[in-house]
Symmetry: C2
Subunit: 356 residues, 2 copies
Amino acid sequence: MKKTALIMAGGRGERFWPKSRKSLPKQFLSLTEDGKTMIQLTIERIRPLVRMEDIFISTNRVYRELVLEQLPEILPENILCEPVGRNTAPCIGLAAVHMAKRYDDALMIVLPSDHLIKYNQMFLNVLKEGCGIAQKAANLVTIGITPDYPETGYGYIKYRPEESDGNAYAVERFVEKPDVETAKEYLETEEYLWNSGMFVWKVSTIMDNIRTALPDLYEGLVKIGETLGTEKQEMVLEKVFPEFESVSIDYGIMEKAQNIFILPGVFGWDDVGSWLAVDRIRKSNESGNVVSGNIITIHSKNNIIQGGKKLIAAVGLEGLIIVDTEDATLICEKGSAPDIKMVLENLKICNREEYL
Amino acid sequence: MKKTALIMAGGRGERFWPKSRKSLPKQFLSLTEDGKTMIQLTIERIRPLVRMEDIFISTNRVYRELVLEQLPEILPENILCEPVGRNTAPCIGLAAVHMAKRYDDALMIVLPSDHLIKYNQMFLNVLKEGCGIAQKAANLVTIGITPDYPETGYGYIKYRPEESDGNAYAVERFVEKPDVETAKEYLETEEYLWNSGMFVWKVSTIMDNIRTALPDLYEGLVKIGETLGTEKQEMVLEKVFPEFESVSIDYGIMEKAQNIFILPGVFGWDDVGSWLAVDRIRKSNESGNVVSGNIITIHSKNNIIQGGKKLIAAVGLEGLIIVDTEDATLICEKGSAPDIKMVLENLKICNREEYL
């Protein structure tokens, strides 16, 4: 069966401020040493499994130019531009009607555009197995990550260890981000995996599930699907899409669906959730500093310093995140990384849009 | 007797890097809230005592334009440009021959250009008393600062408490920068004051002392003096001055001279020796941050942040010095301020002259 991929690239992450901006979200940033952007790495990673013309990018239309620029090899008609963001269920639904229009039915691999994976071949093997499970029945396949610690920023998925199919397990339920006590319990039971937001299913399977769980969305998608390739396409999308309820695929579909299987992924996944991730994904020097740009460090250790042309001199510093851009510089104690959002709130309140 | 002042402005201080540069040393920086530069404040401070046309500025010729720009009211012929820096003895000697040429003899008040004084009227009263003592005999008058703590970065002056003349005391000896143990002993004896580098004497007195203690310097100064106002003036200065031994007035004259009096100054003196001084000379906000520029602070306290147009966001920071300039940013833990010089050494080694 034809394999397609949907790369979801509509996010507006704020946690990499000041490098990430409304006009340049995380997926379009280069955070690794190879200089490639997150979305470029995502495409490169999936290429051995999916032909270039079968890779779809879903994004907000304000990012269309960025996608064209960073991914010139993607078919322009495969860049699906949402008029407004409506979370992942409408996003996946829109891609599904495009894929159905082109191939009737196909396998659909859904991937975030801003995660990193260390062991690409293992990742592809997991996806291949996922394709097999998704193809042979109306199964929804999700990729779960073995948790290392009680993270409270991710959703968790409870699986049934006794119900397996190859490496996949039947899913009992999806749960929202837990508090730390609950997360600790999840870890102890060894029956929960992190929800990576990566999925495999047939286009027909996800459409059936949308019809059952989100009938209004289904109805709108059908309207959009009928006009694809006609001159009304843009106008109908423009009218129908903004009316969709904003709902995630997890909450809207997965929490209610049957026949869900989870494949545990042990391929060095990292969601690169904040500047702290840079410590994991880049090499540090002998002082534990991860630096790039025009930097001098004196008696400084365990800092993340991301500069450019401008000279940054760090003297006697420990455990800081320093990020310099053309118009703004962030200096943040590592433990205070979650408070970076307070800077953005402050900027919003003061109408300083130019920095957002 | 005519009162003249010599403002010494040839210094190349590195401790305010990256704001201070070879091309813009500390005396030409504005570090206080009023926006005036250190040298402008120095001139303003002495004005009630000395007429503008009797104020001389000694500097390196590379700073002549800066002096003209910042002090347009100074007579251009009162800007004495040294071809090369030869420390304070030749500097003061050169000014003395200029003053002698113009007034035969005069009182000479010697002041650094990069110190701050809080109580100007008290300062002027001390100088007035100094002028009286310097005028009535061949006395060398120095202004001493009552020490608060065992500073090892200043020279000390031992006075004789029992030998006083008004508020002035006879000086027993000048001593170089002590180690911390010695400095503590000095404090305990209560017979030592800090050497502020401010002096009052007659032109004739200092020339006599130079003749006795530094005869080579004297000889050269006489040669220079003979050509003042002639077409040979520049040529002779150019030839003679670089041959002078580099020697401080403290070491070359004061450590050997007789008839030295010290006037204790309690007028809120600050030598503004490093970025840490900014905590003393500027107002902090309720979090103990001293900020200027386009700054957002979140959960941050007791920082010195000097920016400009560029946004600086400080998150979770404590006790840092952050200084942003057009081409370089310094981020330094307050306790590591002395290590800023290591940044400059590093830049010198790497031939990165543009940052020095």
